[in-house]
Amino acid sequence: MDIRQELKTFITKEIMRNPKYPLKDGEPLISGGLIDSFSLVEVQLYIEKQFGVWIDDMEMTVETCNTVDDIAKLIEARQ
């Protein structure tokens, strides 16, 4: 499974508790009200466990990590 699909599965099931949600790669996660600040840390820990990449606390912002695409690119660049 590719990174984007894995991220989407994790976010819709574990964070949004709605596996049927049609999450798009470019959809705003933070400003769109899908992920809150507390859950960002959860995403961060998942990324580390699943992809072996650590995204620093201060990088988890609307500017850098607001979409599945943004996060996937960060992961790809560091793997």
Partner: protein, 579 residues
């Protein structure tokens, strides 16, 4: 339950209790001008500024100077539309130096809808007769347009218009009286009903004296805080109390902290922090979401008390926090609780300072069916654990009353009522609400609880309210927001809180009846609902559940039954493994 009157008032407030905050500022400037008042960690985490008492109030006097030049007089309401920054700290005290009444408005975040945000600011300004707003140059044009039609306002003051070399001594003649309103705190209410809690100088100083005694405040205490200042816990415990008591405050930004929770722990270690107030969810976040590599060499042995406050306290949150940080030298008796509210300035009770924190194990059935909290036998596996909020602080009385407002005996659950010398004067410009909240001098809190062995236990609340990370959200507001979405049947929505064990706080859940059930429509409504909720409240909805006709349960009178629908929803989610 009457607490003893103050016999020993610790440290700075031990000179005869000052009449006003202004008198206390003067006292501090005369007795310890060079003592560090504040260590301010900039929101990017890159710099830490040490600011002395003298420097702090000189900056405040710069704001006072600008306010005076702009025409502000004693008693005028000044609203601060500023981020968590030195600007907001100085502006608050600048207004106080002048005898004006400051009030901190939550700042616009990247999640909120700006139109809606400015509308609510406009409503506040109009209703409360705000005289002046202090903000950043970047917001000037927008605010000027939004508030252009409000009569009686003075020109907006921007932060870069402040002069230098402020002198607090110029303002000693402006000192208000003990009965004057010192500042407004905002108490929660559903949309449009935000209430400004008026607190007099005397009430605030009584609270500082009483609460300082309750927590055994000492001259070598250091307060560490990341709490926002538009909430009583952050404003009083995490700002005004340390400043007025002349002990150092280490202040971080809430936005910085939530992204990097470990910064609080390192600040405690670096500055030898002794006191820290936190909402319950923070214990879970710090226990489960901080990586061990971020904790290397951490030493929390300086801490006298973490004080859990502002949302329901959970025994298991304390337990996981204690387990996680015992290896980092967290002392066993450091986890305590306070029950507090803006209407009492701040604290009503405090636990765990004279002995261990108490946890009451009670029988489940008498609690659920008879409103009684009876001690459970040691082998009772269904027992509930309720965390003590402790005893009332000095000069504060607490009782639990029944529906006729008559006091109940110990271990009977009823509404928590309080009476003290630090209560609100009233709600600003809302005399009728002020009258409703008080009964024969007692403030009725709307919270449910019981008293056992002189300690208060809070078990729930009378009103429907969801508390998410210490922030109060009214389900009616969520229901109205979702009801407006195209494809949702008008009035066919219901919202409630669902406790999240992992996060240690409540999640928002909303159910909406939809008219078309195809996937595309459902996706759009899901998306719109989440977006609109965060834009209006700055808080996310965890569960958005769309249902067809006949799903929602109604009462015999045709109203949507919040609790019955909540139960049905929880069963469905549990069956699907999504809780």
């Amino acid at each position: 339950m009457t607490a003893p009157s103050i016999t020993h008032v610790p440290i700075r407030l031990d000179h005869p209790l000052p009449e006003t905050l202004n008198a206390q500022i003067r006292y501090l400037l005369e007795t310890q001008p060079e003592a560090t008042a504040l260590y301010f960690v900039t929101p990017d985490g890159k710099r830490e500024l040490a600011i002395s008492t003298r420097e702090f109030f000189e900056h405040a006097a710069e704001v006072a100077h600008a306010l005076r030049q702009n025409g502000i007089q004693a008693g005028d309401l000044v609203v601060l539309v500023l981020e968590h920054s030195l600007d907001v700290l100085y502006s608050f005290w600048g207004a106080i130096l002048l005898g004006a009444v400051p009030s901190i408005f939550p700042f616009l975040t990247e999640k909120l809808d700006p139109d809606r945000y400015f509308e609510s600011l406009h409503a506040l300004v109009e209703r409360s007769g705000v005289r002046l707003i202090i903000t950043y140059p970047a917001l000037f044009d927008r605010l000027n347009t939004v508030l252009g039609d409000v009569e009686g306002m003075l020109p907006i003051l921007v932060t870069d218009a402040l002069t230098t070399n402020g002198n607090p001594a110029e303002y000693w003649d402006y000192a208000p009286t003990a009965e004057s309103t010192a500042f407004l705190q905002h108490s929660s209410g559903s949309t449009g009903l935000q209430k400004g809690v008026m607190l007099s100088h005397r009430a605030v100083l009584n609270q500082l004296a009483g609460y300082s005694t309750a927590i055994r405040l000492q001259a070598d205490d250091v307060v560490c805080s990341w709490l926002p200042l538009y909430h009583d816990m952050g404003l009083i415990a995490g700002f005004i109390m340390p400043l007025m008591q002349g002990i150092p405050l280490v202040l971080m930004s809430p936005f910085h902290w939530v992204r990097a929770p470990h910064i609080l722990l390192h600040a405690i270690q670096k500055y030898r922090g002794t006191l820290c107030w936190l909402p319950n969810f923070a214990y879970n976040l710090l226990a489960t979401r901080v990586r061990d590599v971020q904790l290397e060499n951490l030493d929390l042995s300086s801490m006298r008390a973490f004080i859990n406050c502002s949302e329901p306290v959970r025994a298991d949150s304390h337990q996981i926090f204690q387990e996680k940080y015992t290896p980092y030298r967290l002392t066993p008796n450091a986890l305590t609780v306070s029950y507090a509210m803006a209407e009492n300035t701040f604290a009503v009770t405090q636990s765990g300072m004279d002995g261990p924190q108490k946890y009451d194990r009670i029988q489940r059935l008498p609690f659920q069916e008879q409103n009684r909290a009876l001690p459970a036998a040691g082998d009772d596996e269904g027992a509930l654990v309720v965390v003590s909020c402790g005893k009332p602080i000095p000069n504060c009385e607490v009782r639990v009353v029944d529906g006729d407002k008559k006091p109940l005996p110990e271990r009977q659950i009823g509404e928590v009522a309080l009476r003290s010398d630090s209560m609100l004067t009233g709600y600003y410009h809302q005399a009728e609400i002020s009258a409703q909240a008080l009964y024969e001098g007692w403030y009725l809190t709307g919270d449910l609880g019981y008293i056992a062995e002189g300690e208060l236990y809070v078990t729930g609340r009378k009103k429907d309210l969801i508390i998410v990370g210490g922030k109060n959200i009214y389900p009616q507001d969520i229901e109205a927001i979702v009801s407006q979405i195209d494809g949702v049947k008008d009035g066919r929505t219901v919202a409630f809180g669902v406790f999240n064990e992992k996060l240690g706080t409540e999640d928002i859940a909303v159910i909406a009846e939809i008219t078309q059930e195809d996937e595309e429509t459902q996706g759009r409504i899901q998306r719109e609902a989440r977006q609109r909720i965060v834009q209006a409240t700055d808080v996310n909805a965890r569960f958005v559940h769309l249902v067809g006709p006949k799903w929602l349960i109604k009462t015999s009178s045709g109203k949507i039954a919040r609790n019955a629908n909540r139960e049905k929803f929880l069963q469905e989610m549990a069956a699907e493994g999504l809780l």
